[in-house]
Symmetry: C2
Subunit: 392 residues, 2 copies
């Protein structure tokens, strides 16, 4: 067996033997590598060993990994590990940075936020490039027709603009989001809290099939895994991490989707919520989140694109093109630039008059625009550089 | 005629002869006093003189003021000037600070934001103390049942908490706000863009009567003045200035109430907007405003009170009591303080354990709390100072 094969099998075994996200296991793997970490865990030499051994039940871990690989193949899925080209490390690695130490008041959920060891995937698209432009659309299972409508509209619009819509495959807002993206013919990704071969919820068997055909169904848990209650909260961090931003469409006061939004915030992704009527219980969670200055209200697709584009420019591959010098202009500078005609020079006084800016201010601002290469000056007259004039 | 009488009559004449808010007239009055300013304006010696003389039409300005006083009395109103005890100078004076110079792109509305020369008032309550605790509730004339419901609920709640509800007396949200406050038996104030003797809109003749009976109807324009279109935007700055904060309940994209909210922002007052369905045209203005980080979404009366209280602590007579040292505590410090029992000293390790804070952190934080007078320390044990313990 090659070293690559052994690393891969070790990661699969880890994915099967420990719940995802654990800080101690992640640090063990980071320090010793997947193989040695697996061996230590199985040898009873680590904090998680007891849990690992109880799951292993005497089986050889390498054997278990091979058996899981065979099952994965049989259900028409594949396993991705960080060694794969399509592994979205640029996104998932951020999960190693948001862990909060657990005080007696905290919970393991806030400590064990680390990246998955591997991902089980159904669907032909390469994961990494698919999520490069992606937005999570999440919300209440017990949604209203209003929420379903907005989730479908936003997701349709995002898909039309070339964004993959990521959600959790649940009833309500999740389903409306997936269906909106499917209706636009765009890729959509369902991130499950159970094996990718499980139809959960059962009523979504057809929807999940359809998603796998044109998009991706993925999970941190091996094929066959149960949708245990606590796994949904663990799973949410992956929805937030994979995407450039999360839109919460409807959420009651106590809603799991609020946690997804918190993860997006912690990860420095765009965190957005859709307003609704303040008399609607399914919008209470949205309005509470919107009271945080860092959560932006989004009322339409343009709002979402603006926010995702902004964050994208900082943290992700550029989405709206590379930053240009004129992106840095203040309002007055922008007005001065707009006043300069495309193909002839103009004197400062005329530029000021057209821009509606005092000449004194124009006199102070225009030379700086020359220094920054945005204008050329000759004999007191300003003009656009040839390259820039051509863009008008 | 006493000096006081002459100042008062001069201000009334100014209120009759120039549109409110003008920067040049305000500065003339500030420099020369009301009498001399009036004389200069009437003598043709100022920028506003032409307009003044055309309104004066040859009449003696002092005569005009006396005539207006008689009219005011006849319609059951009174005139307030800055010399009156009930003049809310602490609020209105802020209007002298938000004027923006007019570029060719700007409008006089943004330059001429200065305080009124006088106010015409109907109703028995003293204006100054009535607006000391007050909130503006404004919004679309073409409101929906949802908006009317929320405006009435919020205003009812505010009135029950002892806040005067200030609005513009218009159809729609304004009317719902006034009626909500009236239903709670609380004072409400209608700030009109015409004379206080005018029933405008006509359909609100009864409502305005009712407001004058238990609250106040007020205006910067003399009795008999027409509700000219441009006066509504001039008037809005007074609604924003009189109150601790402005709540915009429903507003289409182009709505005058957005300008009231902008004034509140410029004045450093709490600026709040009520979310609604993103599919509702009458909430578009609210959602656009909510995209500004300084505009807070409010979904219920508690949200409004929280925001008004916060601003109140800064700019207005304290509403939620004076600021206390413990208001400055961070989360960890608060937890440590909470863990210290009321009437006996406790060791650092026990405080840390109860608070669920690492001992290392508690060791670093507790001495600083002693320095700030929040705790006392003796022999490594911490206790509350006697005064503080009594408050538990």
């Amino acid at each position: 067996m090659s070293t690559e094969d052994r690393v891969r099998l070790a990661r699969i075994a880890l994915g099967c033997l420990v719940e995802p996200g654990r800080k101690d296991v992640f640090e063990l793997v980071a320090m010793d590598g997947p193989e040695a970490a697996l061996n230590r865990l199985c040898a009873g030499d680590a904090a998680a060993s007891e849990a690992v051994q109880s799951r292993l039940a005497g089986e050889d871990p390498w054997n278990l990994a091979r058996r899981q690989l065979a099952i994965t193949e049989r259900v028409g899925a594949r396993v991705l590990t960080p060694e794969d080209d399509e592994w979205p490390g640029v996104r998932l690695d951020d999960l190693a940075r948001i862990s909060r130490p657990t005080l007696s008041g905290g919970t393991a959920i806030d400590r064990d936020t680390f990246p998955p060891h591997c991902l089980w995937v159904r669907g032909a698209l390469p994961l990494g490039t698919t999520v490069a432009r992606s937005v999570a659309v999440v919300g209440a299972r017990a949604s209203t027709p209003y929420g379903d409508h907005v989730a479908a509209e936003l997701s349709y619009g995002l898909a039309r603009k070339g964004y993959a819509v990521v959600s959790g495959g649940a009833f309500g807002i999740d389903a409306a989001a997936h269906r909106g993206a499917l209706a636009a013919g765009g890729p959509t990704i369902a991130v499950l809290a159970c094996g990718v071969d499980r139809a959960y919820p059962l009523g979504h068997a057809g929807l999940l099939e359809q998603i796998a055909e044109t998009g991706l169904v993925l999970s941190e848990w091996p094929a066959g895994s149960e949708p245990l209650r606590f796994r949904f909260l663990i799973r949410n961090r992956v929805i937030a991490a994979l995407t450039q931003g999360t839109v919460m469409v409807e959420a009651a006061a106590r809603s799991g989707s609020r946690q997804t939004l918190h993860r997006a915030l912690q990860l420095g992704r765009a965190a957005m919520a859709v307003p609704g009527q303040v008399t609607s219980a399914t919008s209470v969670g949205c309005h509470e989140e919107l009271r945080k200055p860092e959560v932006l209200p989004v009322a339409n697709i343009a709002h979402v694109l603006e926010e995702v584009g902004r964050i994208g420019a900082d943290l992700a591959p550029p989405v709206l093109g590379p930053e240009r010098p004129e992106d840095q202009l203040d309002e007055v500078e922008q007005r001065l630039m707009d006043a300069v005609p495309a193909h002839r020079p103009m004197l400062c006084g005329d530029i000021a008059r057209i821009a509606g800016i005092p000449v004194r201010v124009a006199l102070a601002k225009l030379p700086a625009l020359v220094t920054r290469g945005l204008l050329e000056e000759r004999g007191g007259a300003y003009r656009l550089p040839a390259a820039r004039a051509g863009r008008r």
